[in-house]
Subunit: 366 residues, 2 copies
C-alpha cells in the first residue's frame, strides 16, 4: 500500500493536503502526539478522540522491550491494544538506541536495554519485523542519526549506512505480503547540515522507493535557523505526491518554518513535556504557569479548550503541589492548542495567507 | 443550617436516606472520594461529574498550607476553585497534624509544616476559620485521635480534649453568621475501643450540638472486627435525624459492617491509592493487575465502567512501565466501582435484603 498525498492547496512551498493509507485519510499539516509506550502521558485513546488527534506515534524500541512486540501482537496490535481507530505511526527507535552509545556495525546496533541491562541487537530487518508485529499504519526504517555538530566524515558514514540499511529494510518489508497490504513504510533522509549530502541522501532514498519520506537528524542541537537550508535541499528533491515528515519538531515557529519548506507531518514530545512542567502554549505565546503572579488569577489559561473551566490559580496550585491532575489538564490543553494551531495553518494555506500567518507566529514564538 | 437526614428505607440498623444541606441533597449510603489538595489524584471535577460522585472531600491541613486558605478564598472558595457543583466536605486535618507528633496542649497542636518546616499552631478556632475561608459545605471540628492500641488514660485524655475543643469550635463557628448560613459543622466522637467512653463521647458531643456526627479513631490499626461494638455504642446514641459519618473507611466489607451499625457516610484514600498500585475493586473481589497472568489478557477489568474499553493486558503494561495513564484509568475504575457499590447497597436496603447483600460482600471481601 503506497501512501499517497493529495494536494488540496499550496501557498508558496506550504502544502495543505490529505494523506491516504490503507486505514483511511488524515489531513496535513499534521501534528502527531507522542505516545511512546502506547499512551500519551496522562491521556487515553478516549482523550485523543476528544482532542481530535489524527495520528498517534508510538516507539518500536520501547514497545519491543516492554511489553514486547509479541505481546502487542497477542493483544491485537497497537490499534486494538490501545482501542484507537485513528492512524498510528511507529518510529523504529533508532534515535533512542543511538542515545545509548551502541556498538554499531553494518549489521546493526548493539545496545543495552534500559529496563534490565540485557545486551540486544537492533538490525534494519529486526526493526521491520517488530514494527510489523506492533502493527502501526506507518513504520519507519532504522536509520543512523548523527549528532550535530559532527565532522563531515561522521555525517557521511551515517548517511551511507542509513542508505544501506534502508535498502535492506525495504526489501525485508516488501517480502511480507500481509504487512504490505496494511502498513506503509517511510524512509529517512540524513546528511547533517550539508546541502549536497542532504540532496544526495534524498535521491538515494527515493531510488530505493518508500511509501513516504521523513527528514531526520535536523533540529537536534544546532541553531534554530541552521536547518532551514538543509531541509529545503531535501524537500526540493522529494516527490510531490508523497507525504513528508520532519521527525522530532514541535515548537510553533519551527513547525511554520518547516511547512514553509514543504513539510506535512510533525511529531514531538515537547508540547506534552512542557505541559507537565507547567509551560503552556497559548495564543499569546508561552506562559509559565509556575510564576507567582498566577497564584490568585481566576482567569482560565485560554477562553476555550479542555482546560478553560479551571482558573490559572487553581491549576498553578495543583502543579506546585505536584498533583497529577495538573499534568493531565495541562497536557490536554497543550495538545488541543497545537492541534488547533496546525488546523489554523491549514486554513491559512487554503486562503493563501500563509506568509502573514507565519510572520504572526514568529512574532509570538521566535 | 442544620444538616438534616431523612430516612427513605431502613433494614435492621442499615439506613438509606437523603442528607439535605444549604447546597442541596445527596443520598446515602454515600462514599466520598478524597481530593486532599483540591483534586482527586489524576482526576478533575469533570471526571467526578462523569463518575456521578455526590460529595468530594478535601483537607483543611493541606489546603491551609498550600495554596493557603486565603488563596482558596480569593479563588472563590473550594467549589468555584475546583469548578465542582456537588457537595464538598473538609476534614480539619487533625489526623494529619497528629501523625506529625505535635506538641499538644489545651490551646491547640504545634507542628512543623511538611512543606517548609515552619512551626505552626492549629487550634480548634483556627481550624474553623480556615475551613470557613475554604468554604466546603461541611466542615469538621479539630479532634484528638489516639492511635490504637493506647492506654485508657490516653484514650480518656483524647476524648476530654476533643470535647473541650468541640465546644470551642462550635461556639466559634456559630459566631460567624455568614458561614452558618452556608456551611454545616460536624462533631467527632472519640473514645477508642471502650464502649462506655464511646457512648459518653457521643452523648457529650450531642450535648454541644452539631449539624451531623462523625465517628473517628476507629479502623486505625486494630483488628478488622474490633471496632464493631465501639461503633455501635456510638451510633446507638446518635440522633436518628442527622447524618453519621465513619471517617477513613473504604474497604467494601468494612463499609457493609459500618452501614449495618447505622453509618451513612464514608471517605477513604484506599480505592484511589490501590488503583495507583494496580489493585482493582471488582465484582469478583480484589484483582492485582500486576500479576503475570494478565500480560496477554484481552479481557477488560469488568464488562462495564470507565475502563471497560481497554484490556487487562494493555492496562497492566502501562502500569508496569509507570505510565500515568494507567493510574488515571484504574482510579476511574475503582471509584466507579465503589460508587456503584454503595448505590447497590442502598437498593438492597430499600428492598429489605441488606443481610443477603452483606453476606455476599463478606464472602468476596473479608
Amino acid at each position: 500500500m503506497r501512501t499517497s498525498f493529495t494536494l488540496d492547496h499550496q501557498d508558496g512551498l506550504a502544502r495543505a493536503g490529505v494523506v491516504t493509507t490503507a486505514r483511511g485519510t488524515f489531513t496535513t499539516p499534521c501534528f502527531m502526539p507522542v505516545g511512546t509506550r502506547g499512551a500519551v502521558k496522562h491521556l487515553s485513546s478516549a482523550d485523543m478522540e476528544d482532542l481530535g488527534a489524527q495520528v498517534i506515534l508510538a516507539n518500536n524500541y520501547h514497545l519491543m522491550l516492554r511489553p514486547g512486540a509479541d505481546i502487542v501482537e497477542t493483544l491485537g496490535g497497537l490499534h486494538k491494544m490501545t482501542d484507537w481507530e485513528g492512524h498510528t505511526l511507529t518510529d523504529s527507535g533508532g534515535y533512542q538506541v543511538f542515545s545509548l552509545e551502541p556498538k554499531i556495525s553494518d549489521e546493526g546496533a548493539v545496545f543495552k536495554s534500559v529496563y534490565d541491562g540485557e545486551r540486544l541487537m537492533m538490525t534494519p530487518e529486526g526493526a521491520v519485523d517488530s514494527q510489523i508485529a506492533i502493527g502501526a499504519d506507518i513504520q519507519m526504517v532504522l536509520d543512523v542519526c548523527a549528532a550535530l555538530p559532527s565532522s563531515d566524515a561522521v555525517i557521511r558514514e551515517a548517511l551511507d549506512r542509513t542508505i544501506l540499511w534502508a535498502g535492506r529494510a525495504r526489501e525485508h518489508f516488501l517480502a511480507h505480503d500481509a504487512a504490505v497490504g496494511k502498513q506503509s513504510q517511510f524512509g529517512i533522509v540524513q546528511g547533517g547540515l550539508d546541502l549536497s549530502m542532504r540532496a544526495e541522501s534524498a535521491e538515494r532514498t527515493i531510488e530505493i522507493g518508500f511509501d513516504g519520506y521523513a527528514v531526520g537528524g535536523l533540529s537536534v542541537g544546532e541553531h534554530r535557523n541552521e536547518w532551514h537550508e538543509p531541509l529545503l535541499a531535501a524537500t526540493q528533491v522529494l516527490p510531490a505526491d508523497q507525504p513528508r515528515y520532519f521527525m522530532g519538531l514541535g515548537d510553533p515557529a519551527g513547525i511554520v518554518d518547516a511547512v514553509a519548506r514543504g513539510i506535512d507531518m510533525f511529531d514531538c514530545v515537547l508540547p506534552t513535556r512542557l505541559a507537565r512542567h507547567g509551560t503552556l502554549l497559548t495564543n499569546e505565546g508561552r506562559v509559565n504557569l509556575t510564576r507567582r503572579e498566577f497564584a490568585t488569577s481566576d482567569e482560565p489559561i485560554e477562553a476555550n479548550g479542555p482546560a478553560s473551566r479551571w482558573s490559572r490559580g487553581y491549576l498553578r496550585h495543583l502543579l506546585q503541589v505536584k498533583e497529577p491532575t495538573a499534568a493531565r489538564i495541562l497536557t490536554m490543553h497543550n495538545l488541543w492548542w497545537l492541534l488547533r494551531f496546525v488546523d489554523d495553518m491549514r486554513t491559512a494555506i487554503a486562503e493563501q495567507r500563509f506568509e502573514a500567518f507565519a510572520s504572526d507566529v514568529h512574532e509570538r514564538w521566535a
